[in-house]
Symmetry: C2
Subunit: 344 residues, 2 copies
Amino acid sequence: MTRKKAGGHGPTIFDVARAAGVSYSTVSRIANNYEFVKPTTRERVEAAMRELGYVANVQARSLAGGRSQVIGLLVYDLASSYLVEIVRGIDDELSQLDYDLMLSTTHRRKHKEASVVSRLAQGVVDGLLIVLPRNLEAYVADLSQQHFPYVLIDYTGGDRASNAVRATNRVGGQAATDYLVGLGHRRIGCITGPLSVGCAQERLDGYAAALQAHGLAYDPALVVDGDFLEPSGHTALRTLLTLDQPPTAIFASSDSMAIGAIRAAAEAGLRIPADLSIIGFDDIPEAAADAVALTTIRQPLQEMGRIAVRLLIEHIENPDLPSSHIELPTRLIERNSCAPYRAG
Amino acid sequence: MTRKKAGGHGPTIFDVARAAGVSYSTVSRIANNYEFVKPTTRERVEAAMRELGYVANVQARSLAGGRSQVIGLLVYDLASSYLVEIVRGIDDELSQLDYDLMLSTTHRRKHKEASVVSRLAQGVVDGLLIVLPRNLEAYVADLSQQHFPYVLIDYTGGDRASNAVRATNRVGGQAATDYLVGLGHRRIGCITGPLSVGCAQERLDGYAAALQAHGLAYDPALVVDGDFLEPSGHTALRTLLTLDQPPTAIFASSDSMAIGAIRAAAEAGLRIPADLSIIGFDDIPEAAADAVALTTIRQPLQEMGRIAVRLLIEHIENPDLPSSHIELPTRLIERNSCAPYRAG
DNA sequence: GTCCACTTTGCAAGCGCTTGCAAAGCGGGC
DNA sequence: GCCCGCTTTGCAAGCGCTTGCAAAGTGGAC
């Protein structure tokens, strides 16, 4: 604790001011693109900055009320490719806009989230991107009240006051089920995500709606809970296969679960898609890479990240903008995991 | 630019001091775990902190010479699972140690790296983790000179002054090749990574060494350049298959390239492993998930991230520690992509 | 030449915190 | 009961920057 910060090394605004023969506030103004500066002065100062290799101290700037040019990203963890895809989109967009990224994973320690949020909102970051599935009303309310800019990604159930970016989950679930029905399937199983998570519920709703639209009964025995992760897809399929009349097609609410289900099917000696059709949701990179290339409903994950960033930065730059909810379309990607129904 | 920071909202150290009836420095000392504080005072102040929901302002703390409890991570981009795995390890360890992560991707914009580094080193972060394949001598020298703590991950060729964590690439390449020879293969192809990157060269060296150890000639025609990414593995294998005497086994210097190669082999009508054995390097998640489960040399990627974090934090807490180079062992993971050589 | 309305620059205060220094408390030995 | 040395607390300065306010400069209209 006695060590002096390494920071003391670089040139400060004062050094630049001295070198350019102006006051430090002039330097600050130039660094912040203030308009009323004589062009010759500006040039002189910029030359001095270049020469000294001046880099503004972000802490000081932000403490004094400026921007940090950092945006925060709050995610659950990095375990699923789904998240990594979103992060890629975010990172990509951010780097083009000259912002830095601060990544915080909450690792299911709910109690930590609130303090992380309040710390970040104190000026460490200029805005917050949040990809957490549930129960964020508490700090979201705080943020709103403080007029701190934030965007919710893939969160269903936020109030109208929040900026949000998500995909058309219900429509996607319906499209997946429609597709299976179109192939002639009548007993269609569904492996859901955790139903406390909005998008999982919406996908299930889409499934149910499609069934109804085609005059098929909703059979609760065909609907098994999962948690979006691969092992739960594996388990769920095994459960479904124990049924007297097992399904001939499955809609899995995430690709990871679909991949788990495919594995379970293979273990049970079923051929995909000949004996069992499976459709996923997300279109993570593994979906295309797997042995059986997975037919799935694509969510534009990277795109969601990119759009969230743009939305956030608009709101950082113009705090009075009304909040917006953006819904991105999902799309059916046909690969090799589904086939027409064959009796028997 | 006129908007006042949202930061003004939370309670400050002064509010806590007033509430607890002590001076602000006492509060600061308690927040920093200073030892000479009367237990009853400590309790009173901690109660006040809890009650007010006090969260230290990182900017101010770091500006005043304290720690930011943030460590920076500099990576090329997030495109490859290899990196994501390392990041997972880092994130995991960090969150247990109560540090935050600031992620910067350089996206091959070399010129940006230097300014990113100098900004971060000014106090935004307490230390730096660097996963960049090449040419970092310039700022690494700066960092060393400033006594700013940093750790290089998977970088070969750093000087002895840097902390570094890496895997035994040469030994791994040798083990892979040994294994193939042990299966009876004599014509063994090698798909390399970019040879300007240290670890790619080392793996190739291992390949050559194993060949020599077994009295096999090194045939340059069997060695094709790749760039660690999947498409280059695909291309490389096609090149190898045009040879008069194509190889019967391949050592790919990354799993992604191995997967690309497997795909190319399948397109050429070859069965893996019956007609062609392929071994990879890394053991990324896709390796196990692919249609043909990939035999590979595992690098303990998450472990590398974790160890790097621990090393970095040791050095942050004790700046005078001598630097250390840690080399983690690679290990052969047998799956289904390699088979004994069958003549014909 | 004077005055006014800009434009351009400088000064000072303050963002919330850490920490060296010094003052105040406290307990034990005599 | 007093002194000494330790523990405990407070004060002030300062980290590098932004920004409101006011002073200084500039140019055109009269």
